[in-house]
């Protein structure tokens, strides 16, 4: 998983680049590019979150909060102080990282489910703050007028352009994460994944490594949030609620939490299910999500990414 073979990479890159052209050509698929923009934004979050879950074995039930911190930091700084969106984006990442340290450090020293509970509470508190601090965030009505982003003088003001921006960043984050997993911190993480006691015996600081992973995942979520804010030009607190945090968990579980590809696959699938294919179920899509989550947890513990390996094992018998 950690090696990057050339041919598959080129094929996937080509698919990403060509997709908007395909979507524009087929009438029923015209709006799919828009859906893929959201899928890409979700991917940015799930890439970080999946190594938290798959490697560090921790679960965050409040990642929507970091997504929101990125979105609101970008929104507030670009509308009230009018700084450059990219600077605001970096500010958002720093804010999210700081908060992640504050929340993660005490929780990750403990075992098991404490981070889950801490992030659950934290996510709800942050959402309440978004709703209550009306002067800063616009309250439940939301905040509008968020400007568009610019890249080297080019205004990113169409769905197509935003698509390429988002997916370029997703590719970058993906490659960066793979490289990170090969760095000393990454090796420590893989050691922890294999066996915590053994890793501890080798002198690896387990808590510290987990905190680093948590902060990293928060930073990526914040990046995604900033992009979301600049794409929608409008944000309100209901996009950053507990249900979105759970949707993220569903994306990773469905795709497979042990590989990065799983995160990407799960994000794209859930984006399409949620924004397009489950319209038939209307509001009962929530039951479908629960069913998917349960079925995957019981029958496909490695998610869809684990299916080829499962099939291989079956066929060998």
């Amino acid at each position: 998983m950690l090696e990057i073979r050339k041919t598959p990479m080129v094929a996937v890159a080509a698919a990403i680049v060509l997709f908007p052209l395909l979507a524009a050509a087929i009438p029923a698929m015209n709006h799919y590019t828009g859906i893929m923009v959201f899928a890409g934004i979700y991917c940015l979050i799930t890439i970080g979150l999946s190594i938290l879950m798959g490697y560090a074995g921790q679960i965050s039930l409040g990642h929507a909060a970091f997504f929101g911190i990125g979105a609101y930091t970008s929104g507030i700084l670009t509308t009230q102080i009018r700084i450059d969106p990219w600077l605001a984006l970096i500010a958002g990442i720093l804010a999210a990282a700081l908060v992640a340290v504050a929340v993660g450090a005490p929780s990750l020293k403990l075992k098991g489910h404490y981070l889950a509970m801490a992030t659950l509470a934290f996510g709800i508190i942050v959402n309440i703050v978004f709703r209550e601090q009306v002067a800063l965030t616009g309250g439940p009505d939301g905040m509008g007028g968020i400007p568009r982003m610019q890249l080297f003088g080019l205004m990113i003001d169409s769905t197509q352009k935003f698509y390429y921006l988002v997916w370029a960043l997703v590719s970058g984050a993906f490659l960066f994460t793979v490289n990170l997993l090969q760095s000393p911190a990454g090796r420590a993480l893989r050691a922890i994944h294999t066996s915590e006691p053994a890793a501890s015996a080798m002198g690896i600081d387990i808590a510290r490594t987990k905190i680093i992973v948590f902060v990293y995942s928060a930073a990526l979520a914040s990046l995604a949030g900033s992009l979301y804010a600049h794409y929608m030009n409008f944000i309100n607190p209901s996009s950053f609620d507990l249900f979105f945090s759970i949707k993220l968990i569903i994306m990773i579980t469905l795709g497979g939490m042990h590989t990065l590809w799983g995160a990407v696959l799960g994000s794209i699938l859930i984006a399409f299910l949620s924004l397009e294919w489950l319209h038939f179920f209307e509001e009962f899509e929530i039951v479908v999500y629960g069913g998917i989550l349960l079925a995957v947890t019981i029958f496909l513990p490695h998610g869809l990414a684990g299916v080829p390996a499962m099939l291989r094992n079956r066929l060998r018998r």
């Binding site: 039930l61 929340v103 489910h113 509970m117 801490a118 703050v129 968990i249 019981i298």
Partner: protein, 300 residues
């Protein structure tokens, strides 16, 4: 209307706080029962409370059954749901880890909530109060009779559970499981049955909490999540796994919420319980009455 004194106001906040605190305490007790035997945090606990209210509405209001029969029926039905939860969502997991179990209970809670939405729709429902709505005036504060029912059932539950765990064979077997599952297995206790029983008990207690609080606060399909989070906060505050802790934790949490909303800002009311939860996790994870031993993962 006479001017209400500050003392009366405080008394009112206290009354409300104890009432809602009793509900949190019951949810916390439910958490603890399952946690003690299996070390699972059942995030679907709040859904049992929600179902308790809604099923009672169905039995008492839609079908017109007398209160006592509807009560028994509700507890039975929700207990069944608890059993199904264990059998279909928890037991089938082949490689249980803390992560997958949390996810499984989340999945279960989503499905129960969705089913409730399908069956009852999204409107809130009301139940007639058990003994009428004439308020009792004490020291300038008004106490609804239903408040007393809620606290009363908490007391009954606690007494019942204490007797069960200390005096009955089955209860003692469950306590044994929570101490050491392997040893319990060795002396012939069927651990899987104990797990099933713990879910059943939790569901039953949750149901009672739900049907006693509905005449006060109505009930709708999505109430479960917030109740679960706050109930969990109460459990952690009191010390995860400890029953006296659950009661203390629940009551304290209810009081903090009520006093906070009354004396500080009411916009942040929900946040009070959560901030307490975070504070406990950060500074004293073992809670007020829990022990400092960091938990091991139990096999079952």
């Amino acid at each position: 209307m006479d001017k209400i004194t500050f003392a009366s106001q405080l008394l009112q906040y206290t009354v409300t706080g104890i009432t809602i605190g009793s509900v949190y305490a019951m949810v916390a007790i439910g958490f603890n029962i399952i946690y003690n035997v299996t070390e699972i945090i059942n995030l679907a606990q709040g859904e049992f409370v929600m179902l308790g209210g809604l099923v009672m509405v169905f039995l008492q209001v839609s079908l017109g059954l007398p209160v006592v029969i509807a009560f028994a029926g509700t507890v039975l039905i929700v207990t069944l749901v608890g059993l199904v939860l264990d059998r279909l969502a928890i037991r089938p997991i082949r490689q249980p880890s803390v992560l997958t179990l949390i996810i499984a209970t989340i999945a279960a809670s989503i499905m129960i909530k969705g089913a409730a939405m399908l069956i009852w729709g999204k409107d809130p429902f009301d139940l007639p109060a058990f003994s009428g709505r004439t308020p009792i005036l004490v020291g300038g504060a008004t106490i609804q009779p239903q408040y007393l029912w809620v606290v009363g059932f908490l007391v009954v539950t606690v007494i019942g559970l204490t007797l069960f765990f200390n005096k009955s064979i089955v209860g003692k077997a469950m306590s044994a499981c929570s101490e050491n599952a392997d040893a319990a297995r060795l002396v012939g206790i069927n651990v899987q049955h104990m797990v099933l029983l713990s879910f059943a008990l939790s569901a039953a207690i949750g149901a009672v909490a739900g049907l006693t609080m509905t005449p006060i606060a109505l009930m709708e399909y999505d109430r479960g999540a917030m109740l679960a989070v706050k109930g969990f906060g109460a459990a952690i505050l009191g010390g995860l796994g400890s029953f006296p802790g659950a009661i203390c934790g629940g009551l304290i949490l209810g009081l903090i919420e009520s006093l906070g909303a009354g004396l500080l800002s009411s916009g942040y009311k929900d946040a009070y319980a959560l901030v307490v939860l975070l504070a406990v996790l950060f500074f004293r994870p073992s809670g007020i009455l829990g022990n400092l031993e960091v938990t091991r993962f139990k096999r079952f």
